[in-house]
Symmetry: C2
Subunit: 235 residues, 2 copies
């Protein structure tokens, strides 16, 4: 890959200033049916759905509590209930649904900034949300592991489209740069940690403080150490 200049850091001038006066939207794409299939060796279908809903609650709750958004939308394929969030039903795939959403936003007279954030990152904090939306960049990408994009903040939805799957981090960076937009890469372990596999449950138990962590404990999951390696077991 050729190195393209990326603005990697901006002074976080607005840290710890609540963003109550800001007009921004957040959207969380969510799919309940057959959620988190890579956890099926450990969790029943029903438990996987409930765990996915608990993670969604953690993310949506953090967005609402951050005070940064006038609307928090959940783009979902089936009806769910989530305090403080607006449910938007869709039957489209991830990219189509989100690009349609961005298009709708950009046709509003406001053309508000939009934060797209994944539903399976229960460690995300209010500080994360305030810091990343306080960036002065035009597009803020928060990488997931293995080339993913776990959150992306788009100041002008009319100037951007998403392209998830594969190395979406690179794709989103290139889409922004090709449109002449200033890009910031936002550095967060908490947001980078999407929960897909058994090993990821370690991170929820170690660093979580919300419903996802509580639900795993209720199911009997605990941290287990064996020969210096850390894992989980279910009691």
């Amino acid at each position: 890959m050729e190195k393209i200049p990326i603005i990697d850091t901006f002074p976080n001038l607005f840290i710890d200033i609540p963003c109550l006066l800001r007009d921004m939207r957040a959207v969380i794409p969510f799919k309940k049916s057959n959620a988190k299939s890579r956890l099926s060796s450990l969790l029943t279908d029903k438990e996987r759905e409930d765990f996915a809903l608990a993670m969604l609650s953690d993310v949506a709750g953090t967005l609402v509590d951050s005070g940064c958004f006038d609307v928090v939308d959940i783009l979902t394929t089936s009806l769910i209930d989530q305090d403080g969030a607006n449910i938007v039903l869709t039957e489209m795939g991830l990219n189509e649904a989100l690009n349609e959403y961005l298009k709708k936003m950009s046709s509003h007279s406001l053309n508000e900034p939009v934060l797209i954030i994944m539903a399976d990152i229960p460690l995300v904090t209010i500080k994360n949300i305030r810091d990343l939306t306080a960036s002065q960049a035009e597009v803020v990408i928060v990488p997931g592991r293995m080339g993913g994009t776990n959150a992306i903040f788009i100041r002008d939805p009319s100037s951007f489209h998403v392209d998830y799957y594969g190395a979406s981090f690179l794709k989103h960076r290139d889409i922004a740069l090709n449109n002449g937009l200033i890009v910031e890469v936002f550095d967060s372990f908490y947001i980078s940690t999407d929960i897909d596999e058994t090993a990821d449950l370690v991170e929820v138990l170690l660093h979580g403080t919300g419903q996802a962590e509580g639900y795993l404990k209720t199911l009997g999951f605990v941290i287990e150490e064996s020969r210096g390696r850390v894992g989980v077991k279910r009691n």
Copy 2:
């Protein structure tokens, strides 16, 4: 695990202020022989050593360039050469060597703050170092994945000892809290990303800008996408 109150965020009052006037030490433990054994299916012994040295260079260079430290020490089991760093030979294991180091520091009249940072986190940035050493907490822990401690900043070396391996994140948190110290957990994807396995090379190629990334490219490593999953291959 019982929840213990942790101070999770501090306003980063000193962001982007160089720390040239500060008296702090940094120490990087390093072991060259049979380095990075979990990469042996992809790299020869010599390549693994050279890759480990490239990662060490990235970390040591970032520490030196941060301007935060009067001394950058490399605690190593064999003689190596590293610009700007001071080589301290030891035959002890990780915990013993570092605890002896902390003891020596605390017997100095200065008792300077010490940053212990791992040699295999080539994505660490100058901003990371400045932000974490600007914390007002007494101990700043930067978690690695799976319960690790990839960096730890200790304001008063006489009040702390390290205990690596296993869930060292929990152990270090508890050591600090048991000593009545204020703990901050510092959130960084870049520092959390220690490079041990083949999959980790993806992160170096995607996010790296230093010697480790350059060395992998020289060896012919590139990002490969297959059915929406991201990996590496060697040409």
